[in-house]
Subunit: 499 residues, 2 copies
């Protein structure tokens, strides 16, 4: 006789395999698919997504989960099977709470809104996008009501990306972070600027390809279970923990783009490659949240990749491929150059210090719109005012302002994960320094494995067993707080800028 838990696992295996297959279709679409295949690919995706959806909301799963709850009721509360039932029930509730009609409306709105957004951004004409955004808000308000929440409708939306996180807690974290960053940015603006001129020049694509592969291999990305390709926007995608792929983009006149995009995506990829093999093909064998995912990519990109020890280790490789640019650069010069801070208009190009201000700005504005305190027509002005207040610059056009991100074509609540990731990364980074006092020396010698092993144990191998905030608490013996990110940024950048 098959137990309910065995049935649950067989069912999840099928759904997860279909999800992996859908990811293969998505990867191919963005890497090698010929242009004329777009419509058929969309329909192939829909075919798979419909199968996944049918399986996910089937009432049989609800009954199965009830049987599983009875079956695991005698186990220890931290047993894997208990966690699996808990997470699976959360998934099922989320999938069944939202009526199919609303999901369809959201999907069709998003794809229409995306097209409008592309047009609006191209022409820098916010009036085109305004009615679409108004609809996005209404749909997200309805979505929040369906999902349900205790304190704030934004909690419901946030939950999809960051289980257990609340709007109140986020407001508190950002309230501490905001003034500290504004002060640091202003101080840096008044300091002597660093020289990053040698990061610009001639960097042929083929050499950048080899160099970035060396970089991701050096930090520990397993290319026997992964690969790197070229796309317009870099991403990481997983077809199982044994096949986790990254992409990067190349600018033949600027080296930093590809190198740090590769390290960022490798950070995501190493998380996926390190998920618990014993829980493979269950709902626990996945990242704890978007924020935890981002903590991994940002740590490898910034704390490691833009850190002094890695700059020292990797400089000879840069000089090997591009002797004209890096032949006479010192490790210290490289370190300063790749950490240049400059208030800029575009979030995805922002440095480590200004980045979180871009996120806080979006968080504040989307909450205000969701609450009805900010009218859509007033968004451009509100955006510009916030940019001026936080970064001291004003976008000359809405394309470089409130029209720059695709996110508001679809859902609300996804931006905070970027800053949550930075907060988590800084707190983990602080902890690992105390636990591995020789880490810097090790990285300077080209061995990042002590850090990777530590992350494997504290983060990757936990999968989705814990709520993200519990994961942080277990790993660092402290609840998530903003102090570590503030201290990290102040320490690093006041040193670089001689403040």
């Amino acid at each position: 006789m098959t137990s309910a838990m065995q049935q649950l696992k067989a069912y999840q295996k099928k759904v997860i395999r279909l999800g992996e297959i859908s990811s293969v279709l998505g990867w191919d679409q963005l890497t090698y698919m010929p242009p004329g295949a777009a419509a058929d690919r969309a329909d192939q995706e829909t075919t798979i997504q419909m199968l996944i959806h049918e399986l996910s909301v089937s009432p049989a799963v609800g009954k199965l989960l009830a049987a599983c709850e009875t079956e695991v009721s005698g186990l220890e509360p931290d047993a894997d099977d208990v966690a699996l039932v808990r997470v699976s029930k959360r998934d099922y509730d989320l999938a069944t709470k939202v009526p199919a009609a609303l999901i369809e409306e959201l999907v069709s709105h998003s794809s229409m809104a995306y097209e409008v957004w592309v047009q609006a951004r191209q022409r820098s004409d916010f009036s085109l996008f305004a009615p679409v955004l108004r609809k996005t808000i209404v749909l997200n308000q309805r979505l929040a009501e369906c999902i349900g929440y205790q304190d704030h409708p934004y909690d419901a939306l946030l939950n999809e990306h960051e289980p257990g996180m609340s709007t109140a807690r986020l407001r508190q974290l950002f309230a501490e972070l905001r003034p500290a960053l504004i002060t640091l940015v202003a101080d840096i603006a008044n300091a002597t600027q660093v020289d990053a001129s040698f990061m610009h020049g001639d960097f042929p694509l083929a050499s950048q390809q080899e160099l970035t592969l060396e970089a991701v291999r050096a930090v520990g990305y397993d290319l026997n279970h992964g690969r790197q390709d070229k796309t317009v926007h870099p991403f990481c995608t997983s077809f199982s923990r044994n096949d986790v792929r990254i992409t990067t983009r190349y600018d033949e006149h600027m080296l930093g783009g590809a190198l740090y995009a590769s390290l960022h995506e490798a950070g995501h990829a190493m998380y996926e490659q390190g998920l618990p093999s014993e829980l493979e093909l269950t709902a626990l064998c996945r990242a704890a949240s978007s924020g935890v995912h981002e903590s991994q990519s940002r740590m490898w990109e910034n704390m490691v990749g833009r850190g002094g020890p890695f700059c020292t280790y990797f400089l000879p490789r840069l000089a090997h491929y591009f002797p004209g640019s890096f032949g006479s650069v010192t490790p210290e010069q490289l370190y300063r150059a790749v950490n240049k801070v400059e208030p800029s208009l575009i979030r995805v190009e922002a440095d480590e210090v200004t980045y979180n201000l871009h996120i806080i700005l979006r968080f504040e504005l989307e909450i205000a719109m969701l609450e009805g305190r900010l009218d859509v027509d007033d968004l451009p002005d509100a955006w510009d005012a916030a940019m001026q207040e936080m970064l001291g610059i004003t976008p000359p056009t809405d394309s470089e302002g409130c029209l720059q991100d695709v996110h508001w074509s679809g859902g609300f609540g996804s931006f905070p994960a970027y800053s949550i990731g930075n907060l988590i990364a800084a707190q983990l980074w602080n902890k690992v320094q105390t636990e591995l006092p020789n880490l810097s020396a090790s990285i300077e010698n080209g061995d990042c494995s002590p850090l990777l092993n530590w992350l494997r144990e504290k983060v990757h191998s936990k999968g989705a067993k814990l709520f993200p905030m519990d994961l942080v608490l277990h790993a660092t013996a402290e609840p998530l707080n903003s102090r570590y990110l503030i201290d990290y940024l102040n320490g690093k950048y006041r040193d670089i800028y001689g403040l």
Copy 2:
């Protein structure tokens, strides 16, 4: 209310989309998949194949088809919907006649047999493979009984690849072809040999990539709906008529391999790209048979690619990429070189004249084994004797003899399609010369579109509406016969060899 035909089409759309998705997985596996992902990919494939199988044998489909038959009973016999019901019923019967247990046994036998075959061929030890082959025969005998046949069990196996073809008809075609080829091969062996030395040399991969892309574009392969990648074994795969991809292989010391593999696969691909758009996502929007498919690849590879006019047109491109090898070669010299005939041991490397003897040999042997006239233990001797009789050479090892092909690890009945393809190609080629008298001049000027348009009309746009033999009859106003292939080969090669 939805008609039965509408339901049938909705059902087929889903099954076909799943098949396309499975092809994407297969393509990725052979092109870009990291080595460590093999086991997961196999399981992803199984997930999709099980979904397809469940849908294909569902009793609901049987009922639906019965309702469709009633619904189309008043239509003209050549109406698309009538053909669709006929072909769909044939598919359903084939899928349901064979018990699931036998299919499973065949699948698991094939994958085990494949591993054994790899070992046996590596060590050139037929005794390893013999027990596996014995099982292959028994399983194929049982398969034939399940499918059913009128005259010969081989008919049942043949039907899967070549609907409507019979063993008796094939024997007759081969009985005519066999002596004519043996005579031609013997005559060529006694003639002055052609010089193909300039086809060997130094041909860097990157230049071969560009050259082969030029070649496939020149014959009409649409790269807006396709692409070419590099694999160990060349193949063509389709993810819809809007995304048909080919692969080729490169030998940096020999040019012919990549060039003619590319043209061969482009021939397959142009067939898929030309399938009837109005029948998209139905059982009629596919090739008429393996043999018809092969007729397209062989025509573009051999009649066009190895033809005088294309040699004349394409020589300057060869000289452009490889001036050292082709700078002083004349079109006539190139034409003779790429048509060099030489009895050889390996089928996949055989020239146009000897190729069909390799097929006839396999056909005769597999029939003898299926009938029980030839014992497995006697296969190596029978193989060697046939090679000596037909080609005048004897394999020094079984690796270069009866162990060279993977086919007998799984099914019987797939070899004849290769020669059926050559027969169909020759008969179509003869016809198109009479209908398009300026074709040679057009190809010599680099314009292959008159031929492609003719094939689109006569072959591609028919999809699977007609039995292959009816397709040939409609296109050439004559039943398939061996005269055209015999005349084509005698005409071309007696001229080249001055016989």
